[in-house]
């Protein structure tokens, strides 16, 4: 379970100026559910993700993972509890390392097992994300965007996280690659019972995958509830507008 309690994040921008990226955000995500976080570019979605991951501290408020402040987790504990997939797979991999190496490194951080077990675990995980083992001997620039993204998912899953956060993980990919990624992710979610948080500006993707949804506008949560409820009976003008912009392209 993740709990956000009155999380506010203010960035200093020099010349005494400040920017409120998150403004008093609170919500709970029960273990094993899939929650969507929607909103336009620059509305604070990625800041929220980074605060939840414990990568940056909130200015005030707190983030609790299973009742304990995320800020008190060690790096190792954190990587075992929560894993993140970024928009550009390049952000997740060292460009000078073959995938096999990157995956090994990740496993070493969390577990002390021998090389054979490593290999078995890695190969098992690749089959789950439907990637060929031959890709292990390639570098990040030698595979397609969709393949690199599935590799990032495989690596994250190897650590058996309780929570997986995906920040715009498919917004630069085309529909068939996106469908494949979500297929892989939701299957893994069902198998492991992990909590998933999907951050996206694409309401349609969210509506197909998430049970609950929070919509953010200028750093504040403007509406939250079940996805069905928000998308069929939006209350605020902003969510109504978002729903309309998608319906516009429907006909």
């Amino acid at each position: 379970m993740i709990e956000l309690k009155h999380v506010t994040k203010i960035f200093k921008q020099g010349l005494g100026q400040t920017q409120i990226a998150l403004d008093n955000v609170s919500f709970d995500i029960p273990q094993g559910t899939i929650m969507g976080i929607a909103g336009n570019s620059g509305c604070g979605k990625s800041t929220l993700a980074r605060v939840m991951m414990g990568l940056i501290p909130p200015t005030s408020g707190s983030v609790l993972l299973d009742g304990k402040a995320v800020s008190s987790y060690s790096r190792k504990e954190r990587s075992q509890s929560i894993q993140m997939i970024f928009q550009h797979p390049a952000q997740s991999f060292d460009p000078k390392m073959m995938f096999e190496h990157s995956l090994m490194e990740a496993l070493k951080v969390s577990q002390r097992i021998d090389r054979d077990k490593f290999n078995a675990a890695i190969r098992e995980m690749l089959s789950q994300v439907d990637l060929s083992e031959t890709l292990l001997h390639r570098y990040p620039h030698e595979v397609s965007g969709g393949e690199a993204q599935r590799m990032a998912i495989a690596r994250a899953l190897l650590l058996k996280p309780k929570i997986m956060v995906m920040d715009e993980g498919t917004s630069m990919l085309d529909v068939s690659v996106q469908a494949k990624l979500f297929d892989v992710l939701t299957t893994a979610q069902k198998r492991t019972g992990m909590t998933m948080i999907l951050i996206s500006h694409d309401l349609e993707v969210i509506s197909k995958t998430c049970q609950t949804l929070a919509v953010i506008y200028c750093g504040s949560v403007v509406e939250q509830g079940t996805t069905e409820q928000l998308l069929t009976r939006p209350k605020t003008a902003y969510v109504k507008k978002l729903v309309e912009e998608f319906a516009f392209f429907d006909i």
Partner: protein, 312 residues
């Protein structure tokens, strides 16, 4: 005079250190003047390479064969000087990324006026007037002020409109746009649609829109060209292709959209070497016939072509 853009037997390869990469494979297509044609297909299918080849904007390693006629000129055969005259003045380009097209250290006014002064014999005053009129037409209420500002002072949506103006300021008869909605949120995506609609109403209807956004394409375009691994697999009237597609790949693309339930196109269904159809390994409709028959792009009716033996 509005000419069609006619490509015949176009093959484009990249000569890399260790190997040759094929990007476009034997493409024959006519982009008709007065129509918006959408080019769709997954990343890497050759859409951008095909589009950029028209303006000779490919890197040096690109080897092009075939012809691309615009009127009586083969654009592939033009020297650099003649191509410079075509670019911007006859065929404009709207790039995907504002950072590529806009200069952060020069005022917006200077950037927009420059092509007018360079290509046409107009005074600064006339150029300024023209730019002001365009800014107003694209929703900037205080054009004089905007012209003194810099692009970093604009929002994402404003910069999108500025690159559109940049592409059409010299009133080219054709426009090529590469992935105009890629990575954009719902509100920006909608405003891009409005920008293109504005262009269509007031500037030109001859456009090639390269996109992986199927719903944007369906709403905006009249004709659709579907590419898969460098080949055209389907050409047809936009609404038809995107509601009742013929080619198994186009069908798969539509099923993969969130609206249809995000069903992925399967991988490795059949061993790819068995057929000359590039989609064979992923095709649910493949049969023994696909192994023996030569699969080529065939006309179904005057507006529709498809590369699949199911329609022989």
């Amino acid at each position: 005079m509005h000419y069609d853009i006619q490509m015949a037997d176009v093959t484009i390869e990249f000569a890399l250190k260790s190997k040759r990469v094929s990007a476009v494979d034997q493409v024959n297509v006519t982009f008709k003047a007065g129509k918006i044609t959408g080019v769709i297909g997954e990343t890497g299918s050759g859409k951008s390479v095909l589009g950029m080849s028209i303006l000779q904007l490919l890197p040096k390693q690109a080897c092009i064969s075939g012809t691309c006629f615009f009127g009586h000129k083969d654009l592939y055969a033009l020297d650099a000087e003649s191509m410079r005259k075509i670019r911007g003045q006859e065929i404009g380009l709207i790039v995907q990324n504002p950072n590529e097209a806009l200069n952060p250290v020069r005022t917006i006014g200077r950037q927009l006026m420059e092509p007018l002064i360079k290509h046409f014999d107009v005074s600064r005053t006339e150029a300024r007037k023209t730019v002001e009129a365009h800014l107003r037409c694209f929703g900037f209420e205080m054009p004089k002020k905007v012209m003194q500002q810099y692009t970093f002072q604009m929002s994402g949506g404003m910069n999108q409109r500025l690159i559109a103006i940049m592409g059409l300021i010299c009133h080219p008869s054709w426009l090529i746009a590469d992935e105009p909605t890629k990575g954009l949120d719902a509100i920006l995506r909608r405003s891009i649609y409005d920008v293109f609609w504005e262009i269509r109403q007031h500037y030109t209807q001859s456009m090639i829109v390269i996109t992986h956004d199927l719903f944007f394409a369906k709403k905006l375009c009249e004709q659709i060209v579907v590419m898969y691994q460098g080949e055209i697999v389907e050409i047809g009237e936009a609404k038809k292709v995107l509601t009742t597609p013929l080619h198994p790949y186009t069908k798969g693309l539509l099923m993969a959209t969130p609206k249809a339930g995000m069903t992925p196109i399967p991988d490795h269904l059949n061993p790819s070497h068995e057929s000359r159809c590039k989609f064979y390994s992923r095709c649910q409709f493949a049969s023994a016939k696909c192994k023996v028959q030569f699969v080529e792009l065939r006309e179904i009716d005057p507006d529709t072509m498809v590369r699949c033996i199911l329609y022989d």
